[in-house]
Symmetry: C2
Subunit: 444 residues, 2 copies
């Protein structure tokens, strides 16, 4: 039987009513003739409550112990969900990350999955038992428990789907898919029926919160088809896949012959009128802008400043330079970074101020980043012109620009961020006729 | 360094204040030059809260899943305690039952420990790390998590102490030891400085709730000295041991030469004036009395009735028979049993009523059991006479009697239970001059 891996986030199992609803949904999937393996996050606010307990006894909890503590959360949600399935007459059994064969590196709190050896899960499925696997956790070679960091349950689900050769990994959450923009900001946002993994990577890396970038990376590497959809109800959500059959199913979910609809989908792709260049617009306000003011405009300055910053923080997404007014021989450099990184970079620069020879540093978090993402950008060089035209017509200032093959991001003043998002959504033809009605859940 | 295993019950770690107090006590033990290994129960009401969650999704939760659920409790308490110790500058690490090497049988919910292979715990101690072991849990050969049932954390502590060759296993709780009677019922009860394991077995089996009978059994079998004492403060509690050195230390904790005080203790034992015949009086109201009324007084009736009852329930502690008034050729049999067992036994008897030929059954839980326990009973046959005299002088009815080598139990009307307890406590010379001031915690 075809195997479906379903992942349910924390708010989908927040109380016993929702747990029972999720159990009914799983039972329905099983009764419809699918094998299923389930991955669950901790219930609702459990993780926050456990963190609060930790803060009650320690100002800076040890990472190993924090992982031991937090993994109690999925122990509770998985066992309760297994009980709820038994109550519906289905055999089910909960498994910790270790029991499910998730081997990780040693990095407590942010461990990477090294491999998945899901023998017990495969055995359970073969025996007609529904396995309920704890998301977000694994075990290292010291037989200690580890957690996978942000988006960990999504990561578990995709890695398990890859190891089990599942047909699809459903990320079940309390929104019904990925949207062309955040519907709370852009009321005319539309649900995206499908995305390439590359588009999904750019969207999740630059503001889309429904699922985590890491899980998309694993899905891309192992060829797992993702389906982001609502935990409650049967509506189709967003398919993320580079597999034409899966995306075709997404384009025409009612078709009983996937290959027929592949053909139809291929037709669509050849028709640029039907296929928008831009798939979505994301925005994020977690950016700060660090500016090195009045550096000497001589060869090597930029390289020296860069070396200091990249020594202090992992990555710098966006950078710009401006010649100071008049011919003073000075130059300014600006960097967009998450606030924590920006503070660390500023400290590193200050320590080297004498050597680098700049005048001052300015640091502001009154900025935001808006990005447009779409596979169609590859063949459409005029996207940047269109973007600047649209923003400038609305009087929106652009501080910095960054570009990948399929993404264009701009840093704008924070108070113009949401307006800029709406403007670009409209300018690239993404506005729906009807208003979107959704509510948000962050990736767990 | 001599190793001390300390077990802390749920109410001793019920909140972050208490967790920090326990951490300070452990740190003090360590700093006084002892190696320590710690066993902890789940915090306060955690287990009840988890059970309530289970009832929210299932009318009859599966045992395997219930164990997965409940073991979340010790994960939380152990990791928090390890964090609290780090905060005090001590290296500490939490370990699940599985990580600590507690291998059990397959009986979810009431598993027996098969063996303890505490390599990781011994390694931690050798490395100067304080191991914090989850009580109440282990793992079976299927790599599933199991729980040990009532008194499970005590059991874990004693089994671990045996496996590590600890000098003593301290059962730290919120009472300061075992008493000659329950101080809530007998205000003049006194703390017992020491008990033989056999006395402790009888007391814990017949009403004393401070620790569980199973842990005493393991301590007895493996020669582990137990010390039941308060989690907070340094007062000596009750030593339970058959080792003369340990009991001598208990008799004279200030002595720096245990063998000197062994001698002193031996002197005491030879002096019956100093050594009370009875160590303690326990009472319990969890008894019911089942009476088979009007059975034919012919050979084989008693055996047939017994066979039916012992086929239905595990053990029958107490039994009595009465000839019905006048020479009717009929006889009554009474049995004292826990209510659940009594109900099951009554059903079994009813099914066989025609064959057994009795008239009716009566079942009442308006009874209680009071027991006197003491090693001195072996050499003092007049204990039963003294007991009946004391009870009869106070007009207390005795329904049933049972006796072991060092225990005498009577079933009395429930409304006379506490009075009977006080009467016997006084009659055997156990009343202290001053009132006891304690508060109770059940074994966890």
């Amino acid at each position: 039987m075809p195997l479906i891996v379903q992942k349910y986030g924390g708010s989908s199992v927040a109380d016993s009513d929702r747990l029972r609803m999720v159990a009914r949904r799983i039972a329905a999937t099983r009764e419809a003739g699918h094998d299923v393996a389930i991955v669950v996050s901790a219930m609702g606010d459990t993780t926050d409550e456990l963190l609060q307990l930790a803060r009650g006894v320690s100002s800076e909890p040890v990472a190993r112990e924090l992982d031991m503590l937090l993994t109690a959360g999925e122990r509770i949600s998985t066992s309760l969900l297994a009980m709820a399935l038994h109550e519906l007459g289905h055999e089910a059994a909960s498994f910790t990350g270790v029991q499910a064969g998730l081997r990780t590196d040693q990095a407590f709190g942010d461990a990477r999955i090294l491999d998945v050896q899901p023998a017990r899960i495969a055995d359970a499925i073969a025996a007609g038992v529904i396995p309920i696997v704890a998301g977000f956790q694994g075990g290292n070679d010291d037989e200690d428990v580890t957690t996978l960091g942000r988006g960990g349950s999504d990561t578990t689900a995709v890695a398990l789907a890859a190891a089990l050769g599942a047909e699809v990994c459903e990320i079940c959450t309390d929104v019904d898919g990925l949207y062309t923009a955040d519907p709370r900001v852009v009321p005319h946002a539309q649900r995206l029926p499908y995305l390439s993994t590359e588009e999904a990577l750019e969207l999740t890396a630059h503001g889309a919160k429904v699922l985590h970038r890491r899980s998309v990376e694993i899905a891309r590497r192992h060829g797992v088809s993702l389906h982001v959809r609502s935990s409650f109800g049967e509506t189709e959500g967003t398919w993320i896949s580079d597999d034409p059959v899966a995306t075709a199913l997404a384009a025409d979910p009612l078709s009983s012959d996937p290959h027929a609809s592949v053909h139809q989908h291929a037709d669509l792709e050849e028709s640029p009128v039907e296929q928008p260049i831009i798939s979505g617009v994301t925005h994020t306000d977690d950016q700060s802008m660090l500016t090195v003011v009045g550096a000497p405009d001589v060869p090597g300055t930029a390289a020296a400043i860069f070396a200091v910053i990249t020594g202090a923080v992992a990555t710098v997404d966006m950078v710009g330079q401006t010649h100071t007014a008049a011919d003073t021989g000075l130059i300014d450099f600006s960097f967009a970074l998450p606030m924590e990184d920006a503070t660390r970079a500023a400290k590193a620069l200050q320590r080297e101020q004498d050597r680098l020879g700049f005048a001052t540093l300015t640091l502001t978090d009154d900025v935001g980043k808006v990005s447009v993402v779409g596979d169609g950008m590859r063949s459409t060089p005029q996207v940047s012109a269109q973007l600047f035209e649209a923003l400038s017509a609305e009087g929106i200032t652009v501080h910095l620009i960054a570009q990948s093959e399929i993404r264009l991001s701009v840093v704008v003043p924070l108070e113009q961020l949401e307006h800029a998002t709406r403007v670009l959504h409209g300018a690239f033809g993404l506005d729906a006729v009807e208003l979107a009605v959704v509510h948000g859940e962050a990736a767990a």
